[in-house]
């Protein structure tokens, strides 16, 4: 399955959902890039979130690489610190997702592809390791985009209280390594879909009409 690549607008056009004219001005999820992140991957991630979460998504103006989260000792960026900062954003969006190109870590782990506040506001995805094959060498652009969309979807779902899922065909399955990630589908199993619906109600979030 390949990621959706339609209906994508640029950041200046403010919204990826200009074709849903009757909707409120601000989206539910704001996607922001920190530092150098490609235009295309931003749009693809945003479009996929909107399509699969059924939520209005906005692409926010770019910000700088989060140097404040850099660890001299680890030579990586501390994901939890980035989340903390994102959660303080003055944007109206109830959920904020950041895309970064730098490598992320949390203190117990050597690295993370993404990190999110469970039931919180912020999520972050690192593209750093998604460009590589596990056995070395790079992957095709399509694969890279697909991986980015998957990690983003997975992490944003965590902010809606979803936890890892045991279903074989579910994006909330815990993947070990990028190859494992490639085997995951770009959708939720019916249980997680139901949990998500429940979370929208709990958080009083209006989903897009299907």
């Amino acid at each position: 399955m390949s990621p959706v690549n339609t209906r994508v607008r640029t950041a200046t056009e403010n919204s990826v959902r200009s074709n849903h004219t009757s909707l409120p001005k601000d989206g539910v999820v704001g996607v922001v890039r920190l530092g150098s992140v490609g235009e295309a991957v931003m749009k693809i991630v945003a479009a996929n979130l909107q399509e699969i979460l059924h939520l209005p998504v906005d692409i926010l103006p770019a910000r700088q690489t989060p140097e404040f989260a850099y660890s001299d000792q680890r030579k990586q960026y501390h994901a939890a610190l980035i989340l903390k900062k994102l959660a303080e954003s003055r944007r109206p969006h109830p959920r904020i997702l950041a895309l970064v190109s730098v490598d992320l870590f949390i203190p117990v782990l050597t690295h993370v592809f993404g990190e999110a506040q469970l039931g919180g506001r912020a999520a972050v995805v690192s593209l750093h390791r998604l460009k590589q094959k596990e056995e070395g060498g790079g992957v095709s652009l399509d694969t890279f985009y697909e991986r980015a969309a998957k990690v983003a979807l997975h992490e944003v779902a965590h902010t809606f209280d979803l936890v890892h899922c045991k279903q074989p065909e579910c994006i909330m399955r815990l993947s070990s390594g990028p190859t494992d990630l490639d085997a995951l589908p770009l959708f939720f199993c019916e249980y997680c879909e139901a949990f998500l619906e429940e979370a929208y109600r709990r958080y009083d979030i209006q989903r897009l009409p299907i």
Binding site: R74, T110, S176
Partner: protein, 451 residues
């Protein structure tokens, strides 16, 4: 979500606690954290954790020390040691000490998820094993009797054989060995199982009352007999009559009883009509009846009548294999009855139970467990809960009492020198570092010096 897996993260570093907590929560586990060994142990006393992530290097109480207690008191809890780069040796030592695995900080996320999955799988198997063990327990249960010793297993098959016959049975054994329970098992396995089981404690009545208890009486048979009353012999019709403490039956009444057992006919006190009954007698005694016969206190003919088949239950001290099983059986019963969540007896306590001589046999063991459960405030029974047995024990659990003696001595000397480490160390003839280590190890502080 069904029965959530519970995990406890023990680490003195806040960032490690927080990030591991966050990560595990995303996998749907129920996670708590503790910043040190004593906090962790306090939490374990209240909550059954499935898995512990335990930092090796912590001040005050090291992970290895915590591990020791966990393996001793909560053997069902799995433990993963967390080590820093360069302390792999200690981790290996921990594995020998019973840790299930170890991870080096920072962990590879895949490794962490694989390990957690693997351990949960293992845990499931373990729980299933416990279930299997419980199923197997069929073999060590017979009616309401529990026993795995050879003596008890033999007794079970004897009971089965005896039950199939309709002969009189005499059960011998010290007080509290389970004579009544065996009698009930025979009845339950016999063709008379749908009839009544009528027990009479022959030692529990003065002579004239015992007689009327047994045979019943007609109205006006003696002063106070305002109405007719059926005796136990009557009541046992089609069933089993259990004569407990039969050694106490007075000689004169032995004659009457013997006649009733032989003819299956008797008459009530003050009555003349012969009443026909059909019952089986099982008698029990903790007295040596041969000796009583020699002394002229027990009739030989009555003895032969009762002793067609004899069953002897050995005292508990001669079948110590049964002690852990019985102890857990009673723990199960009394923790249920008192609604307490106590699931184990720790090794040290079990060692003491196995060592004690139990003059009151199974009944005494049962009472001891009940008492321990009542006073217990934790999830396991330990030495503290059985301190009432201590005066009877010979140098019980050597290592523990040694340790306690050492702690007491350390505290005494430290107090004497007003907690001046240098002076105390001199007096103890050890160096200051060693003393510091001991203070840390036993968590000694001036305020809790009495413990």
């Amino acid at each position: 979500m069904t029965d959530k897996v519970r995990i406890l993260v023990v680490d003195d570093e806040l960032v490690i606690r927080e990030s591991l907590h966050g990560w595990l929560k995303k996998s749907g586990y129920q996670v708590d954290t503790a910043e040190g060994g004593s906090a962790a142990l306090a939490m374990l006393e209240k909550t059954p954790y499935d898995l512990l992530f335990l930092d090796i290097m912590m001040p005050v109480m090291s992970g290895i020390e915590v591990l020791e207690v966990v393996k001793e008191d909560y053997p069902q809890t799995l433990v993963v040691m967390i080590t820093a780069y360069g302390s792999v040796d200690t981790a290996v030592e921990a594995m020998k000490g019973g840790a299930n695995d170890y991870l080096m900080k920072p962990f590879d996320p895949d490794q962490l998820s694989l390990l957690t999955e693997k351990l949960m799988q293992q845990k499931k198997l373990l729980d299933e094993n416990i279930f299997l063990r419980e199923q197997m327990a069929e073999a060590i249960r017979f009616e309401n009797l529990v026993g795995r010793s050879e003596a008890m297993q033999e007794l079970f098959s004897l009971i089965q054989d005896v039950a199939e016959s309709d002969s009189q049975v005499l059960i011998t054994g010290e007080t509290g060995t389970g004579k009544e329970l065996v009698a009930k098992a025979i009845h339950a396995k016999s063709a008379r199982c749908n009839g009544p089981f009528i027990a009479l404690n022959c030692g529990g009545f003065p002579e004239h009352l015992l007689e009327s208890e047994l045979f019943g009486h007609e109205r006006g048979a003696f002063t106070g007999a305002h109405r007719a009353k059926k005796g136990r012999l009557d009541l046992a019709h089609h069933g089993t009559l259990f004569l407990d403490e039969v050694g106490t039956v007075p000689l004169k009444m032995q004659v009457d009883l013997l006649r009733a057992l032989e003819t299956k006919e008797f008459h009530r006190l003050g009555g003349t009509a012969e009443i026909e009954v059909d019952f089986r007698t099982i008698a029990a005694t903790n007295r040596d009846l041969h000796q009583a016969i020699e002394k002229g206190e027990f009739r030989q003919d009555f003895f032969y009548r009762l002793n067609v088949i004899s069953l002897h239950i050995p005292p508990l001290r001669d079948r110590r294999d049964d002690i852990p099983l019985l102890a857990e059986h009673f723990l199960d019963r009394y923790s249920r009855e008192t609604n307490k969540d106590i699931d184990t007896i720790n090794k040290a306590a079990m060692a003491i139970l196995k060592q004690y001589d139990w003059p009151g046999n199974v009944r005494e063991l049962e009472n001891a467990i009940e008492r321990a459960v009542v006073i217990c405030k934790k999830r396991r029974l330990g030495l503290e809960e059985f301190s009432f047995l201590a005066p009877h024990l010979s140098a019980a659990a050597e290592t523990h009492s040694l340790e306690k003696t050492q702690i007491a001595h350390l505290v005494k000397v430290l107090k004497e020198f007003d907690w001046n480490i240098t002076k105390a160390a001199q007096a103890l003839e050890i160096n200051r570092v060693t003393l510091h280590k001991k203070i840390k190890k036993y968590d000694l502080r001036p305020d809790r010096a009495s413990s």
